[in-house]
Amino acid sequence: MKKTGKQAREYTPAMRRKLRKAIYEFHVRAFGQEMARVNYLPLAARRRYLGEMVDHANRKGVKSDKPALGVTP
């Protein structure tokens, strides 16, 4: 087992609820209501949603390629 520096802390159930609520509110602030909802979907549904969004954008001519700089930002 390699060391990763990972630390775990036990929160009280009340603190856990508070954290969960604060995190969801952050998702809404940062990404908007709809994407916050998508972020909390099960993985398969989330990927399906993203796939439909990206494929639709491509059909409408949106390009998603990034410049090839030789280094990753």
Binding site: S64, L69, V71
Partner: protein, 307 residues
């Protein structure tokens, strides 16, 4: 007909599976990783981390990896060769599977930018860990920062306290003080957490300063690579490849040009301490002097590329 998102996802995951079966250590680290960790990012590009020692094996694998009947090609004149010597120094190789209205784009690199620990020590499924991806997202692009916080939040939800190192949202950070009653060794790694723990009004300016510092560090790093790649880019551009040249021919050309003109580790040559010092000076021009005291120690984030 362009390839769908689902087809590309399957292709990249299949590539990782085949690579690992061949003993290559690699992991997806892009928007696809974010999506897997509950932070939706709409991208069809794939960033792939590969250990520098496995670079040539991965190149062999790519040479046979068809997608929609196409084989990959190097993309652009700036793309470094997929070779461990340049991978160790932080360079990236760009590939494209051309075809249809939009191709498939794959960027491969050996050292995760800004990563404070080796990415290969904590891979999660097809992906690099949220910790690695969050460190990689501390870029100069404003759009990346909500993803950093969201990945950190996901880590906290999963019981990984290092998530607090990635929270850059003031409101969310203020819950840190309530959640963390005792002192933590994270204060040393990220001093603004002490302000958060004490619900200190200085948190907001200190947080802005911290983000600006990472912006300046990324600007400085990219500028070093941009300068270092110029002669190589000119040589690659001047070289005339026969039409339809295969990946191995393209690769041999890039290696020849790189051996002459592409420094293997421009960041180390420039000096990590010098780069950090210049980034601090740049931040000092735009933030309140008092906020400088709360900037993090960032040398560990460049230790791996300078090794």
């Amino acid at each position: 007909m362009p390839l769908s998102y689902a087809e590309l996802e399957q292709f990249y995951e299949g590539l990782v599976t085949r690579a690992r079966a061949g003993g290559i250590t690699c992991a997806i680290a892009s928007g696809m990783a974010c999506a897997a960790f509950g932070v939706s990012e709409a991208t069809k590009d794939c960033d792939l981390l590969c250990t520098p020692d496995s670079a040539s094996e991965l190149l062999d694998l790519l040479g046979k990896a068809t997608l929609g009947g196409q084989l990959p090609q190097y993309r652009g004149n700036l793309s470094a060769p997929l070779d461990g010597r340049w991978f160790r120094g932080g360079w990236t190789s760009h590939f494209v599977w051309a075809g249809g209205d939009s191709g498939a784009y794959l960027d491969i690199f050996g050292v995760a930018p800004r990563s404070s620990s080796p990415w290969e020590t904590e891979i999660q499924g097809f992906y690099a860990s949220p910790h690695t991806v969050a460190e990689m997202k501390r870029t100069t692009r404003d759009k990346d920062w909500p993803f950093v916080t969201a990945l950190g939040a996901r880590m906290i939800e999963m019981g990984d306290e290092r998530g607090w190192l990635h929270i850059y949202d003031e409101n969310l950070l203020r819950t840190f003080g309530e959640a963390t009653k005792q002192g933590t060794d994270f204060f040393k790694r990220r001093p603004v957490l002490e302000l958060a723990a004490n619900n200190d009004p200085k948190l907001r300016p200190a947080l802005r300063a911290e983000i600006e510092f990472w912006h300046e560090l990324d600007r400085a790093r990219l500028s070093i690579y941009e300068k270092a790649v110029r002669r190589y880019m000119v040589e690659v551009r001047k070289s005339r490849l026969p039409p339809g040249a295969g990946l191995s021919v393209q690769h041999a050309l890039r290696v020849r040009c790189a051996e002459k003109y592409l420094p293997m580790n421009p960041l180390r040559d420039y000096g990590i301490a010098r780069m950090i010092s210049e980034a601090r000076e740049a931040v000092a021009q735009i933030i309140h002097p008092a906020a400088m005291a709360w900037l993090p120690e960032v040398r560990e984030h460049f230790r791996l590329v300078a090794a």
